[in-house]
Symmetry: C2
Subunit: 282 residues, 2 copies
């Protein structure tokens, strides 16, 4: 596994793959890798001949007062995991490699960030779209792989790729969970044992909502009510609990063909998010 830190080295390495006729899959990460990331790598290996992973804690997607400086960094352990997972190339850029002196270009979406996490984190998705544009242009992949855990991010990337006519296929991978259902997240390590127990309410409530819908419930208010009663009794501080169109993320009054339930709840120092597909009986 090769490690590079400049765009020039990255391009030289990917050009070598291309000369061999290989296709490329790309997985952008912020490091602190867990089994969720490794599931993305596994899927990437199934989608293309070569897998490129980036590790970069992107400052432009953190707002003031968010956990940018506290965000865990462990590059050596991360690279060992990626090598074990069969990754071909790791890109570890400096901030200056992605934001050259005088940098002033941003990629913005006008509607998708006006929902859910975008309300509490107003510059977050602009930062995500901008850094992903840069990374996609630097790597030049055929396929990019993102987790459904960050569902709004996945929809932002799908929309951006479509709108900017990027010749890239976007693949979403289901969330990886602990055996008790907690979605894997680098931020879980901020949880105390009590908070971790409380946080199980997220997946339990989402599963219950999906069962309600599978059994024929179509009234969004009743689905939201069931989600809220289960989550608010857990002790977390709710940011949002929402049932939305699975593509536009706009609020729904009645369930259409496929919707998504999404929650964001603060437990102690950790703001956790989770989501589930709501599929009416066919």
């Amino acid at each position: 596994m090769r490690q590079v830190s400049t765009v020039a080295e990255l391009r030289e390495a990917t050009a070598t793959f291309r000369r061999q006729g290989d296709t490329l899959a790309f997985v952008p990460t912020m490091g602190c890798l867990h089994e969720g990331h490794l599931a993305l790598v596994k899927r990437a290996k199934a989608e293309a001949d070569r897998v490129v992973v980036s590790i970069f804690v992107n400052p432009s997607q953190f707002g003031p007062g968010e956990d940018l400086t506290a965000y865990p960094r462990m590059e050596d352990a991360d690279c060992a995991k990626l090598e074990g997972a069969g990754v071909d190339l790791v890109f570890l850029p400096t901030e200056e490699a992605l934001y050259p002196p005088g940098d002033q270009t941003v990629v913005m979406l006008s509607e998708l960030p006006q929902h859910l996490c975008g309300l509490a984190r107003p510059i977050h998705f602009q930062g995500v779209a901008t850094v992903c544009s840069k990374l996609f242009n630097a790597v030049g992949p055929d396929v990019v792989v993102f987790g459904e855990k960050d569902y709004q991010q996945l929809q932002v990337i799908r929309r951006m790729v479509k709108d900017l006519l990027l010749p890239i296929r976007v693949v979403g991978v289901p969330t990886v969970r602990e055996t008790d259902g907690l979605a894997l997240s680098s931020r879980n390590q901020y949880l105390s044992p009590d908070e971790r127990a409380q946080a199980l309410s997220l997946n339990q409530a989402l599963q219950a909502a999906a069962t309600l819908v599978a059994n024929g419930e179509q009234d969004v208010d009743r689905i939201l009510g069931a989600l809220k009663s289960r989550i608010t009794s857990s002790g977390g501080q709710v940011d949002y609990i929402a049932v939305v169109d699975s593509e536009t993320l706009e609020s729904l009054e009645n369930l259409g063909h496929e919707a998504r339930a999404l929650v964001a709840v603060q437990f102690g120092g950790a703001r956790l998010i989770d989501n589930i597909a709501l599929r009416p009986p066919s």
Copy 2:
């Protein structure tokens, strides 16, 4: 010369060039082609094996009240000129091909548009950056060729390509002029004979300023004064007359290594722009 109107056809055609090992140069235009555009094509042919030209009057770079609907369209004559100039492929997209349903992604620069034409046309450069991102991603060129006539646009494209890490070389081509010095522009056809005579003051004033600087003048106020007296006496309505840093377009008090003088003046129904390099004696 092949003509295509969908992104899928475009990609299939460029993929054929790539399989032959050919490099690609791309010239985006809004049609109504004149010798200035053909100079870009000629340079493009010198820069790469194959030349792709797009013709698209981009709505997102016109503000309310600007000349979007009046903007001249003559696709058949344009294509004949491009064929004569040896272009390999012309891309004539529909609006929906570049702005798919639900489109909401924009590319913005925070500083360069805060100067010169960007002040009178606040959404113009966002529209230019966005459509050029789309076109560059659709075409996948090695080189893009732009005219120095739209000098601020050229700097916006250079900056965007650098910031977004696009693997593209940006080439600027000197302005093509009538024998009497008037810069070629699709908007010159809006001029009456009297207005056309008045408009010669732009190039005359810019040439005089460049001569002043070449002869040792370093005081920006005196250079601006010379430009203003020459242009305001011509009868046009001045939008701006500026001497700026040639890369950042920020105002200068004293000339550094290389500056640029730029003017925008309305003559009747035509808003004309022109510019020149100011090179101090070495």
